[in-house]
Symmetry: C2
Subunit: 595 residues, 2 copies
């Protein structure tokens, strides 16, 4: 039985992030370490006992269209209902709205087990959380009282309806229109694509958070507004809408997209207002839709990172069990007549497993750190919030991208370790590999994250966030040295951090001098080296904890070895990547005609 995620790691991360100290923040005052633990345990149980056993079936039999409506796999429906019962959707939301006021740090690590168990089923809840949060934060009271409660209860689920067929990453180009009907609603008309959970039969209704352009709005990103557009609409606004009759709202499924992963969760093309009768309620201020959406983006991107870490983790445990069980070949230097050994006896199999482990450990540790910052930025002492917010903003593109990109590599290695069997759908690693690929694409591609990091986050406030990062890393360096971690590790991290600072300054200067391609052309290389350093920091934190604990148990030795691997293998890439960012113009100067 695949454990999905190593409980020892998650428990350690809850310690390292000092979650019990969060209870000193008024918002979390009703909690203590025990209630946190109960929630984590409940998610572990559902992830392992309900979701994971459903995974193969929901991947193999994706949702189908019947009479224009989407039918989910029965196991997806059942799984979603059990996830809903845990209170997942409203885990972080205020008690006033039926929420549990849990720290994001706790829910992030707890929900990882649900994502690991079945990404698609967990995704239905996760999407609803995001959509509901927009309603809670920006909708006026009438709209909020109508939509929020049924969404947080999961009776109605939510979607994010951003993408249009011609405009993927370029939201400024979207053309869906909203016409003021003069009755407090807008008539919505347009086509959206890749709408996850856009229709299904696991809930009573679906509320789309739709980006659209009010007639007469400015062009581009500054003319986009946000609307709540239910699939079936209430006849009047107000609390209890979910208990009253609903009527059709002219939202239609126009296509079911055949995704290669996350196959339990339907991705749809939707038509809004084809019959001129689709009503939407404005959420927030006109023309502020994109800005509002981006205020929720940190949480969505941390969510992607955690789902990516979870998907890599499941594959790691699958490969580890296989490598321990399956005998194949002989130890080096043994004769072919000797007994076969387990795969794990081969050094290269251990290389692949240790690489996977270091990616998984680093991903979860980073997600925990980033989630902690989100809690501090929202609910911590006022004075510390700007600092936490700045570091959160800086780390978010890494927290999203590192697990997606390196995690994919881990998923590929799991297939490789399974050999010929890994290349078949009789074994699960290939499905996890397919799932993982989405994470470098949705919620902002890796390319978008790179531009966000280098073009926005590191230069914001004159580079203030980098200074805050340095202080945080310095604390870790001091702690590592105090704990007696091999000095080679903190010394290497300190050096790498200096290289990041120098490179950032050099690229910033290029940008300030108007050489935008010289600054941003190597954005993905910059993100890569930045991520390597950030994850080295996380490994040093884990190694310090292991060292403090004596470093003798299997778990602690594993953490120390994982850190040692990361510092030997990934960190030396930093100066090389930095040189590439400074010097290589091979593709920046490339004329597309030469391709």
């Amino acid at each position: 039985m695949n454990p999905l995620i190593d409980d020892r790691l998650i428990d350690l991360l809850l310690d390292l992030e000092r979650v019990e100290e969060l209870c000193a923040f008024p918002y979390f005052a009703d909690h203590d370490r025990e209630t946190f633990g109960l929630y984590v345990d409940a998610c572990r149980r559902v992830g392992r006992q309900v979701l994971w056993p459903s995974y193969v079936a929901t991947d193999a039999e994706p949702p189908a269209l019947a009479e224009g409506r989407v039918r989910l796999h029965p196991k997806t429906k059942d799984g979603f209902h059990q996830v809903r019962e845990l209170g997942v959707i409203a885990a972080n939301r205020p008690e006033a709205f039926g929420g549990h006021q849990l720290p994001i740090t706790v829910s992030t690590l707890a929900h990882a087990y649900l994502m690991a168990g079945n990404l698609s089923t967990a995704g239905l809840a996760w999407l609803t959380t995001g959509a509901a949060h927009l309603v809670e934060e920006f909708a006026d009271e009438a709209v909020r009282t109508t939509f929020l409660e049924p969404m947080l209860e999961g009776r109605w689920t939510g979607t994010m309806a951003l993408t249009e067929p011609h405009a993927g990453s370029s939201l400024g180009d979207l053309t869906t229109t909203a016409t003021d009907a003069g009755d407090g609603t807008y008539r919505i008309r347009g086509a959206k694509i890749f709408i996850s959970g856009g229709d299904h039969d696991a809930a009573e209704n679906v509320v789309h958070l739709v980006l659209a352009r009010i007639e007469g709005a400015p062009d581009g990103v500054k003319g986009i507004s946000l609307f709540a557009v239910p699939q079936r609409r209430p006849t009047e606004l107000g609390a209890g809408a979910a208990d009253r009759e609903l009527e059709p709202n002219d939202v239609h499924v126009t296509g079911l997209i055949h995704k290669i992963g996350w196959r339990g969760l339907p991705s749809l093309a939707l038509g809004f207002g084809d019959e001129g009768d689709c009503r939407g309620w404005l959420v927030g201020r006109p023309h502020h839709g994109l800005r509002q959406m981006f205020q929720m983006m940190n949480e969505a991107r941390i969510g992607v990172g955690v789902s990516a870490a979870a998907t890599a983790s499941v594959a790691y445990h699958e490969a580890l069990a296989y490598a321990r069980e399956r005998t194949q070949g002989r130890a080096l230097g043994s004769r072919s007549e000797s007994e076969p050994v387990a795969l794990v006896a081969h050094a290269d199999v251990r290389r692949m497993l240790l690489r996977m482990k270091s990616i998984v450990d680093g991903s979860f540790a980073l997600a925990a750190t980033t989630a902690r910052l989100a809690d501090e930025a929202q609910h911590g002492p006022e004075a510390g919030r700007p600092r936490a917010a700045a570091l959160l903003d800086l780390l978010t593109p890494i927290t999203k991208t590192f697990p997606a990109e390196w995690g994919y590599e881990a998923n590929v290695l799991a297939v490789q370790i399974h050999g010929g069997y890994g290349y078949t759908s009789e074994y699960v690693p290939e499905a996890l590999m397919r799932d993982q690929k989405l994470n470098s694409i949705h919620e902002g591609t890796t390319q978008i994250q790179a531009l966000d990091l280098l073009g926005r986050k590191v230069v914001a406030g004159g580079g203030a966030a980098l200074g805050i990062l340095k202080e945080s890393i310095d604390e870790t360096l001091a702690a590592a040295r105090e704990a007696g971690v091999d000095e080679a590790l903190p010394a290497a991290l300190e050096r790498a951090l200096g290289e990041v600072a120098a490179l950032t300054a050099a690229l910033g200067t290029a940008g300030a001098q108007g050489d935008l391609e010289g600054m941003l052309g190597h954005g993905v290389d910059y993100l890569t080296l930045f991520a390597i350093v950030i994850v080295a920091w996380q490994h040093l934190r884990l190694a310090t904890a292991a060292q403090r604990a004596g470093g003798e148990s299997d778990f602690h030795r594993g953490l120390l070895q994982s850190a040692r691997y990361w510092f030997a293998t990934e960190l030396p890439r930093v100066p090389m990547l930095a040189r590439r960012c400074r010097e290589d113009r091979s593709f920046v100067d490339l004329d597309p005609a030469w391709l």
Copy 2:
């Protein structure tokens, strides 16, 4: 319309390998550059006009079992028949057996178009070539006259039946038995798995080349013999067997494996002799089966490399066309109100495309060089054969692995460039990505190739092959300098080659002192750095040709830029990887309990 492969590159490689000089070898004396060109053109046509248009359908509707027999997709059958008509199966074989005596250099580059068009359909021919070659080379005359002609005509196809469920890479552990029946045949009994093309309805018969153990044979790899085991057997041996009646030979399909790629080509579990009536004919000497098989291995592994290069190439052209057509986002520094630009206007999209191109160009160039060595080793002047054979042996694991591993990365980038659409089966990159993954697994995993390279090839003859490699690279360095290629390139390659030599000596010393894990533990890292240097050599050859040609056309500028990219991006990894091979023991010393 996807061109599959850039004709300009293939034509240049035919020039660079001086194929017309091959006609001075007696075996190729009936050919000239024109007959080579005609063959290449014919394969281009079938690849583009017949196979590629069938690809999506044969991927989407894999073969099915009906009454214990496999039914191929009609387009696979038709495609195979047209491939067969080209004379592909016997392209390199002697005219005496109905072959065309074409150089491997020519057929390798020509067949790349067939593999690019539809890997599965081409695979059916390719497998038959390999199996027929074993019969031609090792079978006695009675067996050869029976099986060879129908196989080379493609009326009967062939398989390689090596793998058993418990023994993947460890052929020494196989347990299929062969009992001498005293009538010139053996009774075969056992189970094989992952037998590509093991049953189908596109030919009249299937001949399995089966590895089995004659009763009383030694344990391990030294007790394995090779047998020709037809699915339906002739009642007597001799020429014309395919025109006479055949009878069932007790070979049964026991399972259809659900592969994630190469889906047009069935992969089967087969039972031999379940009813005690399966006859096999010994091919070659008893207990020499594995050695015989390995004599064919170079060609099979070059074939894998070419299929991997082809699969990456198709994805590259798919992504390039998409990036030129699809508009998305704005140029750096432009306002969101300006017109959207093509994807290729974004530096990072060009980075991905140039990376793909450099992988594809390097892969084909390496395959051409290796194929040329195979021609020289088999048919060149006697005196030069050992030298060509030594270099061929050295380069084969790289020619197999580089396109498989880096090519996979190229295939992943094609999905990334397609964004959300790339994540759907409505677009073809995801299917190509699935196809590519097999190439790091079959015909010896990347791990096996690494052990072959470092544990066998570089140390053979006291490191003689490395010396020959150095001489070949020195010729390229001199030519590059003479042509006026930027001196930074030859200087960097020279330095990197020195690092390979020094590292190899250090690892060899460790091995000689009994530290086998110290020597071989980083085998995959060693293979990686070795491959980077070899491909840098190939890029320098291409850049030299481009420079000689004036370097002004789009094609030549593309080659120069591709080389510049490789030297800026990949070659700097060499010292880092070398240090890792020497110093890092993180996974070598890892106790599996720590995972």
